[in-house]
């Protein structure tokens, strides 16, 4: 079972100070990783870093300079990055015909561009050492269109993350860097809190999920640990769907 251990590994989780990112950070830490919480929220980030005896680095994933700075800081302090989890993400529920330009750009900026900036900058450092594992948090929304709520930008961004993952995996596979994605279904987080408060959304979500419930963030974190660790040493470019069976229907 040592394959699942992250002892002596340095792991960066974007959005690691909140929600799913928090549970992922806790899981990786429990597996032995030295944690870096790369977070835009200056209140939650330091708290989580303190809880896990790790490091908080203020990071705005939409800003390539901020991402470069984060990587410099981490490599400077820890010497390397072994694991990167691109978790930071946002969603807007707006009918497509009414989506303002800036809302579309905001979602793509965090969910797609942010993932690429982080993969590129951390990837460089990993390629130098011919070693590393990147896990991108995609979504079942990259495979199916959610309903009844409108969220075209989110869905498109997550489909892009799945294909970006496969592209980077193909490029970097022979150079020791693995890149995989996890595609969760509905998870009980602040992102789905609004929807769960509306019966007309929540009922469809539950009824469309064969397992009949939302996932707790703690149920997604082990999938991230599995892919991040040596347990998945032959997996790259894989999109691991953890959706309670949602996409079976």
């Amino acid at each position: 079972m040592e394959e699942f251990s992250l002892q002596d590994r340095v792991a960066v989780v974007t959005g690691g100070g909140q929600s799913l990112g928090l549970e992922i950070s806790r899981a990786l830490n429990r597996a032995g990783a030295e944690m870096v919480i790369a977070e835009v929220n200056d209140e939650t980030g330091p708290d989580v870093a303190e809880e896990l005896d790790g490091t908080f680095v203020h990071t705005d994933v939409t800003d390539p300079a901020s991402v470069r700075g984060m990587v410099e800081t981490v490599v400077g302090e820890h010497g390397r990055i072994d694991v990167l989890v691109n978790n930071a993400g946002i969603v807007h529920n707006i009918p497509s015909e009414e989506v303002p330009d800036e809302e579309w750009l905001a979602v793509i900026s965090v969910n797609l561009n942010g993932v690429f900036w982080c993969c590129r900058e951390v990837g460089k450092a990993m390629l130098e050492r011919s070693s590393g594992s990147i896990v991108n948090i995609a979504s079942m929304s990259g495979i199916v269109s959610n309903h009844p709520q409108p969220q075209a930008a989110y869905n498109a961004s997550k489909a892009a993350v799945i294909t970006l993952t496969k592209s980077l995996a193909g490029e970097w596979a022979s150079r020791g860097v693995r890149v995989n994605s996890v595609s969760p279904g509905y998870i009980r987080t602040p992102l789905t809190e609004l929807g769960m408060s509306k019966t007309e959304w929540a009922d469809v979500w539950i009824a469309s999920t064969p397992l009949g419930s939302l996932a707790e963030p703690q149920e997604i974190a082990p999938a991230v640990l599995y892919l991040a660790s040596d347990a998945a040493s032959f997996a790259t470019g894989t999109n691991l769907v953890v959706d309670g069976g949602y996409t079976s229907w």
Binding site: G170, S174, P222, Y226, A232, S233, V242, S248
Partner: protein, 255 residues
């Protein structure tokens, strides 16, 4: 380590069909390492006994049980025996499979049928029988061994029956997952790429061009390397996962 607890299988009972050689043997050993008691269900008793002894000698719990997956009558008998000796079955790995390399135009009818008899019908017999029991027990995890051959066409060798049979396994996985999710019976598939076993002679020079060089990682896997994936699928670490096909192929299906 609480997160590692999610992967723990202590006190669980698992069955691996074809569990006495190749990938099946590696899966069985990984499940034992995670704490499970494991039944090696296969046709060749002597080989099963040897693997079970090897596991027991190292402190693990494993038993050998007779099973020809193509005979539905044997499946319930085997499950009764496992339940009696190890406890009710929590994890079932449908691993037994066969593959023949032959151009489609030359495949004899009996060979076509023999592939489907094992890879599809055999898997169905086992899944149905153990599924009934898991529904009664209100929970369980079934893992079907699919293949990248369900998604791509292998080359240079032709293996039409195998490829079609594994596509059936993937879709059957989703069908059973959707149907049995309300009973807390999870059904997922593992789709390996090229792994060094008797079934896949990865070292033969004539296969290198495609089997190895076409894979982004530029290598094959060892059976042991896939063990942790089975532990992940078998355990509570994947409690929200059902109907999924986990591809572990060194990137083969990317290109």
């Amino acid at each position: 380590m609480a997160v590692l607890d999610a992967f723990d299988l202590t006190g669980k009972t698992a069955v691996v069909t074809g569990g006495n050689t190749g990938l099946g043997e590696a899966f069985a050993k990984a499940l034992v390492e995670a704490g499970a008691g494991v039944a090696l269900a296969a046709r060749t008793r002597e080989r099963s006994e040897a693997v079970a002894k090897e596991i027991s000698d190292r402190g693990g719990e494993a038993i050998a049980v007779d099973l020809d997956v193509t005979d539905p009558a044997q499946v319930d008998r085997m499950l009764d025996e496992v339940t009696e000796r190890l406890g009710s079955v929590d994890v079932f790995v449908n691993n037994a499979g066969v593959c023949y390399h032959r151009p489609a135009a030359e495949v004899p009818l009996e060979e076509w049928h023999s592939v489907f008899d094992v890879n599809v019908h055999g898997l169905w017999h086992c899944a149905q029988a153990v599924g009934r029991r898991m529904i009664q027990a209100d929970g369980g995890s079934i893992i079907n061994i699919g293949s990248i051959s369900a998604m791509i066409v292998n080359r240079p060798q032709w293996q039409p029956a195998y490829n079609a049979s594994k596509a059936a396994v993937h879709q059957l996985t989703k069908s059973l997952a959707a149907e049995w999710a309300p009973h807390n019976v999870r059904v997922n598939a593992l789709a390996p790429g090229y792994v060094k076993t008797a079934m896949a002679p990865v070292d033969e020079p004539r296969f290198r061009r495609h089997w190895i060089e076409d894979a982004p990682m530029q290598r094959y896997a060892t059976p042991d390397e896939l063990g942790p994936s089975i532990v992940f699928l078998a355990s509570d670490a994947s409690s929200f996962m059902t109907g999924s096909v986990l591809v572990v192929d060194g990137g083969y299906t990317l290109f």
